[in-house]
């Protein structure tokens, strides 16, 4: 964001941004001092590493029914040597399935957030930059989308698109589009009134240039915060959809929501099978939430000391 001004440093010319270190540098400095942000970052980092190295970390093949002989209708073996978290109802190693499950959650979270961000920001930018009729049409569409509860929209879209992980990702992305669009628009509208925009206009910069290199970069803060928080809700929503029987139906690719859905039939004989995926979902979501909230505080001038 600040690359253009940093180059000047060699020439000895200090822009105002360099004096205070730039908005993002400043925010990053404050993030490092916030213990909750550190906790969030550690959770997110663990989540990313587990997803990346699941095959190395997992003690067993997540689909091998290693202990199927031990499973009886009224008994599922718990922790035993080699199976620290026990096995599921089909005798597969629970820990390995949990570790592999992080990949699906990460995939859904990241893809649906980026997709929602791309569409939402495009719409929000069009509305914020052009105003008038374009703005009106886009805002009425977002009004309509926001007038239906997100979970219902997500269910509807994933049913229409058929049961697959892709349709869940698209569904969650679409639910988040109006949120991103409105945020960016609102943020851009408030920036448009700033003095620096007036200055940029008065030196005769074309509108495209003013919007893309002045208004937009200064408006993305709240959207980035929201995107971090959306990563958390996307992970929870994906689990919820999969818990309702939508989404990935391929049992050979473990998914936390589907594991939870399976486990509820065994709540009385082995409740841990329901709690492990729940805890995994909460930790992953909590990481992104803490990071997002801390980022919001770090970027918000009200919290600046």
């Amino acid at each position: 964001m600040t690359t253009a001004t940093q180059v000047d440093a060699a020439g000895g010319v200090f822009t105002p941004e360099e004096v205070v270190g730039g908005r993002w540098k400043e925010a990053f400095r404050r993030l490092r001092r916030n213990p909750l942000a550190i906790l969030g970052a550690l959770l997110v980092l663990t989540f990313l590493l587990v997803a990346a190295f699941a095959p190395l970390l997992a003690p067993h093949d997540p689909n091998a029914q290693l202990q199927i002989g031990e499973v009886r209708p009224d008994y599922i073996p718990g922790s035993s040597p080699g199976f620290p978290l026990g096995v599921d109802n089909l005798g597969r190693d629970e820990l390995s399935r949990l570790l592999y499950g992080s990949r699906q959650s990460l995939l859904v979270g990241v893809v649906s957030t980026i997709l929602g961000l791309a569409i939402g920001m495009t719409l929000g930018c069009l509305a914020g930059a052009f105003g008038g009729r374009v703005d009106n049409v886009i805002m009425r569409i977002t009004d309509l989308m926001l007038s239906i509860p997100g979970l219902l929209t997500a269910i509807t879209i994933s049913v229409i698109l058929g049961q697959s992980l892709t349709s869940v990702m698209i569904a969650i992305a679409i639910v988040n589009v109006p949120i991103f669009a409105r945020l960016l628009r609102g943020s851009m509208l408030s920036q448009r009134e700033s003095d620096y925009v007036l200055a940029a206009r008065s030196i005769g910069l074309p509108r495209r240039k003013v919007v893309l290199s002045h208004v937009l970069p200064n408006s993305v803060g709240p959207v980035i915060v929201q995107a971090t928080l959306t990563l958390a809700t996307a992970i929870i929503d994906a689990a919820a959809l999969s818990f309702l029987g939508l989404g990935n139906q391929d049992d050979s690719r473990p998914e936390w929501g589907a594991m939870l859905s399976d486990a509820q039939n065994y709540l009385e004989i082995r409740p841990a099978l329901a709690f492990y995926p729940c805890i995994a979902i909460v930790l992953a979501a909590l990481g992104f939430t803490l990071l997002g909230e801390a980022l919001r505080e770090a970027l918000d001038p009200k919290f600046r000391r």
């Binding site: 309509l144 007038s147 509860p149 219902l152 269910i155 049913v159 919820a240 818990f243 309702l244 709540l267």
Partner: protein
């Protein structure tokens, strides 16, 4: 005032219109088209053609939309493909359960949330304040289904204090007039049936009510903190009013404005959150019906339920909006 109400209600028309188009498009977009969705596994080319003729699916799209609109206005959403009941009947059977659950959850959230938020604000910076701030953050992050499982396991499976599933004990032979089980028990004087229905509501209501609870605590706390520093509170103090009167008439009353809006907004969200809670507790309401319909590919019921909840959500939000204007004259000016 009247103008404000009428304008707000007129704004509903485009939203409802958009909703109807959305759900109409849904039927068209279903995998294999509406006919095979209706027939399910019994679909053969001849049957599909027959259905297409019978339902006018071979007509131009705008004729189809017009007919669809006419049917929706008469609450005709077709029939369930699992048992042939009209979708409207399914909704009437299931909806009272969801309403009971939603009201119970909202009661829990407000009755606990408002005092908690209020006292947290009064002891600003104290231990209770800290607990409520951290607690509400956790309450917002924890997914509904996690809490539902936890409650169900601890209080139903482990301790056996409360029933793990359903709306009423199957052994109770209760008369159902309205399908609101708690109300039915009271009306027919079968108080044990009513009490049993209430016991079935406790765990799902707490699970469903926790997110609204967390939000209500946060909003109440923030609103009270805002209000106590207002000039009119200082004036009231200067006039020599007793603390109790100031708190009741000046602080609480003004602080409640944002809280009322939030409660209204939560009511709509609870309706959709109920889908997950009902599934965990096998609680027969609309949410359970939606989950079952997804599993059975029972599209008419799924579509009817979603349209029903969506319309209800829109209407509730609009009513809250209007009520807010009634409560707070400043809103009307906008």
């Amino acid at each position: 005032m009247l103008r404000f109400v009428v304008r707000r209600l007129l704004q509903l028309i485009p939203i409802l219109f958009g909703l109807s188009i959305l759900l109409f498009a849904w039927l068209r977009l279903l995998p294999g088209g509406p006919a095979s969705a209706l027939l399910g596994e019994r679909a053969t080319p001849e049957r599909v053609a027959a259905i297409n003729r019978a339902y006018g699916l071979d007509q131009p799209i705008w004729v189809q939309y017009w007919r669809y609109l006419q049917r929706v206005i008469r609450f005709d959403f077709g029939e369930s493909i699992t048992d042939g009941r009209p979708v409207t009947q399914v909704l009437l059977d299931q909806f009272p359960g969801t309403v009971e659950l939603t009201i119970a959850a909202l009661l829990f959230a407000t009755v606990v949330g408002i005092p908690l938020g209020y006292f947290a604000a009064r002891r600003h910076g104290g231990a209770l304040d800290g607990v409520s701030v951290v607690g509400s953050l956790i309450g917002i992050t924890i997914p509904v289904f996690f809490l539902a499982f936890l409650l169900k396991y601890v209080f139903a499976v482990r301790l056996g204090w409360l029933p793990p599933s359903g709306r009423q004990d199957v052994r109770i032979d209760a008369t159902h007039i309205t399908n609101f089980f708690v109300l039915d028990g009271l009306l027919t004087r079968e108080f044990d049936a009513s009490l049993d229905a209430m016991k079935h509501l406790i765990l799902p209501a707490i699970a469903l009510g926790t997110i609204p609870l967390a939000i209500i605590v946060r909003i109440t706390r923030a609103a009270v903190l805002d209000v106590v520093n207002e000039d009119y509170v200082r004036t009231a103090e200067a006039k020599g009013l007793t603390i109790a009167v100031i708190r009741r008439r000046h602080v609480l009353r003004n602080a409640m404005l944002p809280v009322v809006t939030i409660i209204g907004l939560q009511l709509g969200l609870l309706l959709s959150g109920a889908i997950l809670t009902e599934r965990v507790f096998a609680f027969p309401g609309i949410g359970q019906e939606i989950a079952d319909s997804i599993f059975n590919k029972n599209y008419p019921v799924l579509q009817g339920s979603i349209l029903f909840i969506a319309v209800l959500y829109v209407l509730i939000n609009r009513v809250v909006d209007v009520l807010y204007g009634v409560l707070d004259p400043r809103v009307r000016v906008r």
